[in-house]
């Protein structure tokens, strides 16, 4: 557990010192969402209708942007070899790196979401559900993304390959998140959607570090 905290602390420190990754992710999120009113016109009712989808698709793309840095930098400078040789299961190391990734990208996205929701005129009934789905959904994005990031290590043009691998796996998160927000806006119960999202989190929490560890071992062979 100490080692887990040590890796999380180190990765957050690296992210804060380098700075660019978290800021880039949030800036991408904000700029892309701002583009939509320009693209589809400023009619409030149209924006209101597309707001949940736009917010979640953009958040999902933004979170994907930073994934290729998750293991790549450690792979290039040899840190990954030493992390694999840490006297603790590799799954714990991966889980720690994913946690740090979520804290430095998922959490800033979560913080920016309500402001952008106002911009898109999201119905006020949907706000709390939006935050809740993003709170459950963004860790799932980081977890699934870790598998892809580990698989493309050492590949040329890894970033493009990564999006091809990961985007199809993000679809269920998107469907149930948007479903929950739409249900909340129409005054319908959202419990079923949130439970399914929670189920995804519970399933990926052990499975994704396990799969990513296997991919990392393969990459270092």
């Amino acid at each position: 557990m100490n080692r887990f905290a040590e890796i999380v602390r180190r990765d957050i420190r690296l992210a804060l010192r380098q700075g660019s990754d978290s800021i880039m992710v949030v800036t991408f999120f904000v700029l892309t969402v701002v583009l939509f009113p320009f693209g589809i016109g400023p009619e409030a009712n149209i924006l209101e209708r597309v707001a949940p989808g736009v917010l979640l698709v953009t958040a999902l793309l933004a979170s994907m942007l930073s994934l290729d840095r998750l293991f790549q930098a450690d792979y290039e400078d040899g840190s990954l070899e030493l992390l694999v040789l840490t006297p603790t299961p590799l799954e714990v190391v991966v889980a720690a790196k994913v946690t740090a990734h979520w804290l430095t990208t998922g959490l800033p996205l979560l913080a920016a979401a309500p402001v952008l929701a106002v911009l898109l005129n999201l119905n006020s009934d949907g706000f709390s559900t939006l935050m809740l789905t993003m709170l459950i959904g963004t860790p799932v994005l980081s977890l699934i993304g870790a598998i892809g990031a580990a698989l493309v290590l050492g590949a040329r043009r890894g970033g493009v390959l990564l999006s091809l691998l990961i985007l199809p796996l993000y679809v269920p998160v998107l469907i149930f998140s948007v479903g929950a927000i739409d249900a909340a806006i129409q005054g319908l119960p959202t419990k079923a959607y949130l439970l399914i999202l929670g189920g995804m989190l519970v399933a990926t929490l052990p499975l994704a570090p396990w799969a990513a560890s296997a991919a990392l071992r393969q990459a270092l062979e």
Partner: protein, 227 residues
């Protein structure tokens, strides 16, 4: 010692090790054994499998067949225990450009030995030993290749482990730093540690055993079996 009868079995040994990389047999039927206080120098031309053997010994690479044993116990049964008693220094120095020298070493030391209360003092002593004390607060990106290598080597002293696996540790080091490394390895062995290293440079390791990897090159028939 030999007139006392059978010598004790070596602490760290490998038997019938075969390593296959990219469909090619690198070495086959490799046997070795080192005991506490001993050093093993891997010799052989480029591509003879020195780095591959060190990666196998560290647990980064699975041998195609054969077993590694530590004090009679197969290493594969307890990979975490093996990681805990091993320090591996590879070709890369694993220095983060935005962390200071002390932060870099401290991270790896804490990761290796999270319970150690004396970790801070050990890191300072390790930096002092490798002549890095005045650079402790300098970020990794400012370091020269030799300073990076010394920072990486400081890990060896910052968190103690009995087995050191060093892949060409003298790369980029100046004469003075090589002398320091020689002294550090001598102390480690005097305290019962084991050093396995590969090198092309002259390095003074009194009484070290030598392992010539070209002696374990596969026979042509065996090499073809995997093609």
């Amino acid at each position: 010692m030999s007139d006392l009868g059978v010598p004790p079995p070596p602490d760290f040994s490998g038997s019938k090790l075969v390593c296959v990389r990219g469909g090619r047999v690198v070495f086959a039927a490799l046997e070795f054994g080192v005991s506490a206080g001993e050093a093993l120098v891997l010799l052989g031309p480029n591509g003879s499998g020195k780095s591959s053997l060190l990666r196998v010994l560290a647990g980064l690479l699975k041998p195609y067949s054969g077993t590694l044993a530590w004090q009679g116990q197969p290493v594969a049964e307890n990979p975490e225990g093996h990681a805990h008693r091993t320090h591996y220094v590879g070709h890369h120095d694993a220095i983060k450009p935005v962390l200071s020298v002390a932060e870099n070493v401290r991270f790896w030391a804490r990761l290796h030995e999270p319970e150690a209360v004396t970790a801070g003092q050990r890191v300072d002593a390790a930096l002092e030993r490798f002549g890095l004390a005045h650079l402790a607060a300098i970020p990794g990106k400012m370091l020269s290749a030799g300073q990076k290598r010394r920072t990486n080597l400081a890990r060896l002293l910052a968190a103690p482990s009995p087995l050191w696996l060093l892949d060409e540790p003298t790369t980029a080091l100046d004469r003075k730093s090589i002398k320091v490394l020689e002294a550090v390895m001598a102390e480690h062995r005097a305290a019962g540690g084991i050093v396995v290293l590969s090198t092309h440079a002259d390095i003074d390791l009194p009484g070290a055993r030598e392992l010539h990897l070209d002696g374990f090159a596969p026979s042509p028939e065996l090499a073809e079996m995997f093609l």
